[in-house]
Structures are given as C-alpha cells and as structure tokens.
C-alpha cells in the first residue's frame, strides 16, 4: 500500500523556510535554463519568420550573407528571365534586385562614442514591398523611388539616435530623410533601413547588386529554378529558399547560446541538486521515528522510498513552475545584439515555446529526483527497531 500523497505534501509545508529556500534555488536554475533557451529560440524564430517559403534568395556562391555577395547587373537580368518566376498583375516579374550594405549608427542612451552598431541598409525596388507581406508602414509614408528618402524599421527607430520621422541621416555625401517607419513584426527586417536601390548603389559607389529575391510561380518549381541558376556557366550564383537562407544565418548564434546555456545550467544544477539533497537528508533524519512508526504499521520499504521520492519530486515540480513563471515574464523583453554571422544588428524577443516548457519541467523534476534518491534510499533502509528507538 502506498503512503498517501498528502503525507509528502504536508511535510513540505511543515518546514516552510527550508522548503522555500530549496525551491528558490531550483527555480533560479530553471529560470536561467529557460531564459537562455528562450533567447536562442527567439533569435531563430525572428530569422525564420523573416523568410517566406515561396521566396527565393539568390546570392553569389559561397557568400554567407547578403553583405558579402555581389551580383552583376547582367547576371541579374539573366535571372530575371527565368520562367519559374511569378508574374505580377501587369505581367512584370515578381523579383527585386537589392543591395545590402552596413552603416554604423549610434545607439540610443549611451553617451560613449563606442556604442555604435552596424545597421543594414537595404536598397529596394518597388517590387520589394509585395514580396515581403510582413512589412507594414506604421507611420509616415512610403519612400518615393528616385529620391533620397528612406524608411526605417521600428526596432531601429526605437534603438538608435537620429532615425525618427523627418530626421536626416548622412552617408555617401548625401542627406537622407526618414519619411516613414515600418513594422515588420518579429522579423529581421525590423532592424533595417530601406531606400531606393539605385540611389543607395550610387551613394555607396557600389555598381553591383547584393541579392535577388523572387517569388516562385509554383511552390514545386524550386528545384527547376535552382538548377537553372546554379548550372548557368555565365555566373556563379546560388539560390536558396528564403526560409533556409535566414535559418542558416541564425545557426551560429543559436548554437553558441545553446552551448553556453546548457553548460552553465549543468554546473548550476549541481548546486540545486545538493540543496535538494541536504533538505531531503534532514527530512529523513528528523523523521526517523515517524518512518519507524510507518513501517511498524505495515507500510513497505518500497512505499517509504516512494513517499520520500514524491516529496523531492514535488520540490522539483514547484521549483520548475516558479522558474518558468518568472521566465515567462522575459517574453516582454526585446533585446538587440549583433548577429556574429551577418555582423549586423538584430532585435529579437525571448520566445517561450511548449518544447522549452517541457524541457525545463523535465530538467527540474530530474534535479528533484537526483537530489532525493539517496536520502529516500536511506529512509527505506532504516530498520524498524532502530528507527523507533530514535527520537
């Protein structure tokens, strides 16, 4: 017969200070564990949502980001003729030839001169907007093609100096007016500045495009388009689905964070496990006579073992819930850092996924279990006579 669950539960309530300190320790470990995973998931989610599966990105073969890539005008025109490219209402191909450069902008808040960060400036064509359905103008107006006007993403408008509506930026010996702010939701575009591609190319004296983006006429046409582009001897370009392209960009950062997170929490969890162990050992020591009584009443060793294991699992469970509770507040926080891979600023949110919740809870229960095994074994091994004599 099993010892009732309420026995384990009430025991925890008996010694409030000890229980809450142990739970707190575990909650903090779970919090760190969840927070780091949420950061990695946030970066990945942001970059994955940046791409859409029907769009294809063409860059120079071997370049890992658009900034490194160069595409000659002639090559761009050849790609534009591909039959797999979808057509717009007026029969024009749904393709944008874009240029991507980085500029250094000053971050808000910090006074020191060193707080510059690299921001993506993307030269766009009129077909760029329909290709990115996530991008919506929130204030001001769209830039006029052929003028020195730019629109900025909302993360940039929030985080950097001098990029508000009607403010001006100076690069390439020209003054650029910010005429609009766009919201691209939780995507990388929110961390970009957009201007007319021909103007941007001229200002930066960059006579080549960085990337070509086009929509497929039919989702299955990807392989045909890819072969046509990559097998063409007139240029060395490669085509990727936009989703794949951005996923590749998130890999280094996400991997770095995951390694950091897991190795950190592995060390931390030792501390929390020891905390649980100390608590459970003293629970057993304090209750020796009680255990003897239970055994004398006819409860089996296995039941005693189970009762104490349940108690420490409960500790882990409460710790996990508390840690996740705090971690869930991190979702309101949006941070921005430089993506190692593209060397440019990227704003993202901590993202809590069901998988992270499951991972954190399993992790927390494991801490409770490991911390409780040895004390529970000791409890179950007590001899009835010895245990009853102790008090």
């Amino acid at each position: 017969m099993a010892v009732p669950l309420s026995y384990s539960f009430r025991n925890l309530g008996k010694r409030r200070l000890t229980t809450s300190l142990t739970v707190l320790g575990m909650a903090l470990v779970v919090f760190v564990f969840a927070a780091v995973l949420m950061m990695a998931a946030g970066i990945q989610k942001t970059l994955i949502e940046t791409g859409s599966p029907d769009n294809i990105v063409v860059v120079r073969k071997g370049s890992t980001s658009e900034v490194m890539s160069t595409i000659e005008r002639k090559a761009a025109s050849i790609v534009e003729m591909l039959p797999q490219i979808a057509r717009g209402g007026a029969g024009q191909p749904l393709m944008a030839k874009e240029v991507v450069v980085l500029i250094a902008l000053k971050k808000k808040g910090l006074a020191q001169s060193s707080s510059h960060s690299n921001v993506v400036v993307r030269g766009i064509q009129s077909s760029s907007m329909p290709l990115r359905s996530q991008v919506k103008l929130v204030s001001g107006r769209m830039l006029r093609m052929g003028s020195s006007e730019v629109i900025v993403g909302n993360s940039i408008a929030k985080g950097f100096q001098g990029v508000g509506l009607q403010q001006t930026l100076t690069w390439g010996m020209r003054t650029w007016t910010v005429v609009g702010v766009f919201d691209a939701g939780n995507t990388g575009f929110s961390s970009e500045i957009w201007g007319d591609v021909d103007q941007v190319m001229q200002a930066f004296r960059r006579p080549v495009f960085s990337s070509l983006i086009f929509r497929l006429q039919h989702p299955d046409a990807f392989d045909a388009a890819q072969t046509a582009i990559e097998k063409d001897p007139r240029f060395t370009l490669e085509a990727k689905r936009e989703t794949r392209y951005y996923l590749d960009q998130s890999e280094t950062m996400a991997k770095f964070l995951r390694i950091l997170g897991t190795s950190l929490t592995a060390i931390f969890s030792i501390g929390a496990i020891i905390g649980a162990m100390i608590t459970m050992y003293s629970a057993v020591a304090n209750r020796t006579a009680e255990i003897g009584t239970l055994r004398a009443l006819g409860f089996r060793r296995r039941s005693i073992l189970l009762a104490f294991l349940t108690e420490s699992l409960l500790l882990g469970f409460i710790g996990g819930c508390l840690g996740l509770f705090f971690a869930s507040f991190m979702q309101f926080i949006s941070i921005s850092t430089v993506n190692f891979q593209t060397f440019s600023e990227l704003a993202f949110k901590f993202t809590l996924t069901p998988f992270i919740i499951a991972q954190s809870m399993i992790f927390s229960l494991m801490m409770g279990l490991i911390g409780g095994v040895l004390p529970a074994l000791r409890a179950s091994r007590l001899k009835i006579v010895d245990a009853l004599r102790a008090s």
Binding site: V101, S114, N118, V208, G271, G275, I335
Partner: protein
C-alpha cells in the same frame, strides 16, 4: 576562544550535510569564477590595446574600404610615426566552423607596429620574401598541426575562390595576453589577385593602423586625420585601438550583460543553499542556544556562533572552488579557443570570488540568527529536535 572552538565543532557536526554544503559552494564559486573569466576575456583585446596606436576606417562602416592612396597622406600628418594597413580577408579553412581571424597586411610596417607579435628573424625574412607566404599564431598552428613550409588553403567568403598560402613563420605572443590565433599574409598578394578578378575592389584597404609618436598626441592626431579626409568620397573615422576594440564589444553588449546577470544569479542560488543549511542547523540547535542563553551568553555570542559557522562553511567551499577554477579554465579554454583567444583567470576574479563568499555567508546567516536570538529560553528548551 571557546566560542571559536564550539563554532568549528558545530560547523562539522553534521559531516554529510557540511560536506554537501561545501561542495555546493565550491561548484558555485567555480561557476562564478568561470563566468567572470568569460567576461574578462571579452575585454582582453581592450586591455591589450596599445595607447600609441590608432585605427582608421571608413566612416560609413567597417565593411567599406578606403583607397590605398590615403597611406601617403596619413604619413604626412603631424603626430604620425608609422602607417600600416590591412584588409579583413574573411576566409575559412576547409569549412565554416574552423573560424580564425585572417588579415592581409603590409608586413614590414605591421610587425614593426605590433612588437607584441614576436617572429623569429630568419622566418620573418623568409615570409617577407615570399609573396604567397603567411604568418600564423602559435596556438593556431598547433590546433591544425601546421608546420613551416606547409601549404594552407583558405576558402574566400568575401574574395571568392581558393587561396593558397605557404606557412613561412609562426609568431608567439610577448606575454600571455596576446592573441596567438591570428593569420596574416601579404596585402599585395590579395591586391594583385583582385586586380585581375574584381578590378573594382583592388587598391583598397579595410583599415589603417597608425602609430603615433607619443600617447598624449593620439587624440589630436585622430582628429587631424579625420579632418584631412572630410567631404571626400571616403570619409574616415579614427579611434584609438582601445576605443576600436570596445566598439566591437559594445556590439555584443547584450550578451555580456546576460552573462553578468547569470553570474549574479549563481550567487543567489548558492545563498539559497547555504541559508537552507544554516536554517536547518539553527533549528536543530534551538535547544543548545536556549541552554547557552540560560548560562548567560548574550545575543551577540549566539550571532557570532551562527555567522562564524556560515563563514567557515563558505570559506572552505570557496577556497576549494578557487583552486578548482584554474584547472577548469585550462580545460575550458581548449574547447572555446575559437571564441576567446586568451582565457586567463585574473586577480580581480579571485577578489570577486572572496567578496562573493563573504556576501553569501552574511546573507545566509541573517534570518537564522534572527530566529535564534528571538526565541525565548523556555520555548527553546521545550522544543525537541
């Protein structure tokens, strides 16, 4: 004196519990030390920066080059002693994950400007005479098993194609803080090749490294250089090497902050563990304290006992942790050499370890002490175990 004796006896009365607590503290201090070392190695480049060197780059951003013709103009500016230049090559060895910094530089002036990179005289001459030659750091050469005379092929990400280099020299750092994972080759080699492949990118440099005559003229010289190129097609931004390096750290500022936060959290975790131990100990010893009070010991003595016990536990634990930090960093640095070229435990980290363990002991003992002092003698004596 007697109090001290009781204190030590108390601390090790429960052998299992004490050793578990000490182990927990040791692990936490180890984690704290490792995290502090990670943070300080982020800043390693800043501390190693020389005060007599300036870096000039394109004002728009680091990805835009400057014309090579600027070299002569900079050389004429007041306060400038020496000018060198280079490009970030951005090549990878075999595959992406084998990352290490690789630059092409003007070799003669570069190694004169960076005396902390120590080259063997004979090897240096061989390198200077071979346009396809390259120089790599000691750690890098060891990691990939390169020997003098080997041909190394890098895959260019910015400059497409496979680039062959012949290893002519291996440099060592003047001291431990010098990054020994870099790869240098001749700027001319890259330039000749780009002239043929991509004429638009030829005769450009990524950044100028400038040696000034004295540290105190560095700031003025930087202003003079930027002024000289104002309103040109490629305006410049000149900073001291330190500011330049700090700029890179500021970019990953969010990460540094996150690691700092986490290193604080580890302190809280361990406070919870130690406080737990102390709470249990004092609860069990309520009877003892009541007897001591009856005998005439004051609240102060009891406080000393509990605080002292917490101090003994945390200090033993943190001493163990500090000692373990050294072998741990050595193992750690072998795995993450790509991210942090220099990974050393600084004296500051040790001081912070000690400060942290004091704080832990103090905070962990506060609540149990209050409870022990407050309890009335009669209640204390009545309570059993």
């Amino acid at each position: 004196m007697m109090l001290l004796k009781i204190l030590f006896r108390n601390a090790f009365h429960h052998k299992l519990r004490s050793s578990l607590t000490i182990l927990g503290i040791a692990v936490a201090i180890l984690a704290f030390g490792l995290l502090r070392t990670v943070i300080s190695s982020f800043y390693a480049g800043v501390d190693a920066a020389s005060t007599t060197r300036l870096i000039t780059r394109n004002a728009i951003s680091i990805i835009f080059p400057l014309p090579i013709s600027y070299a002569d103009k900079i050389r004429q500016i007041e306060g400038v002693k020496m000018v060198s230049y280079g490009n970030w090559f951005g090549g990878v060895y075999i595959e992406q994950k084998n990352f290490f910094p690789n630059f092409c530089v003007e070799p003669q002036s570069y190694f004169a400007l960076y005396p902390e990179l120590v080259l063997d005289a004979g090897q240096k001459k061989a390198f200077l005479n071979d346009r396809k030659g390259c120089v790599v750091g000691r750690k890098l050469a060891k990691k990939y098993g390169w020997k003098i005379g080997d041909t190394i092929t890098l895959k260019g990400l910015i400059y497409p194609g496979n680039w062959d280099f012949v290893l002519r020299s291996i440099y060592t750092g003047r001291d431990q803080t010098v990054d020994e994972t870099q790869f240098f080759f001749h700027w001319k080699y890259l330039n000749e090749a780009t002239k043929k492949l991509m004429p638009g990118l030829a005769d450009k440099v990524g950044f100028y490294m400038i040696g000034v005559i004295r540290p105190d003229v560095a700031a003025d010289t930087a202003v003079r250089i930027d002024k000289a190129f104002q309103n040109s097609l490629a305006e410049t931004l000149t900073e001291t090497e330190k500011a330049f390096n700090l700029g890179f750290i500021a970019m990953s500022g969010a990460l540094v902050t996150a690691i700092q936060m986490v290193s604080l959290i580890v302190i809280f975790i361990i406070i919870a563990v130690v406080a737990n131990t102390m709470a249990m100990t004092t609860r069990e010893r309520t009877g003892d304290y009541a007897i001591m009070k009856t005998l005439g010991f004051g609240a102060k003595d009891i406080a000393i006992l509990i605080f002292g016990e917490a101090l003994v536990l945390t200090f033993t634990g943190s001493l163990l942790g500090i000692v373990l930090t050294f072998p741990a960093t050595r193992i750690f640095s072998q795995h993450i050499a790509t991210y942090f070229p220099t990974f050393l435990v600084s004296a500051q980290t040790i001081y912070m370890d000690i400060a942290a363990s004091m704080i832990i002991a103090f905070l962990a003992a506060v609540i149990p002490t209050r409870q022990a002092i407050r309890i009335r003698i009669a209640d204390g004596l009545r309570r059993i175990g």
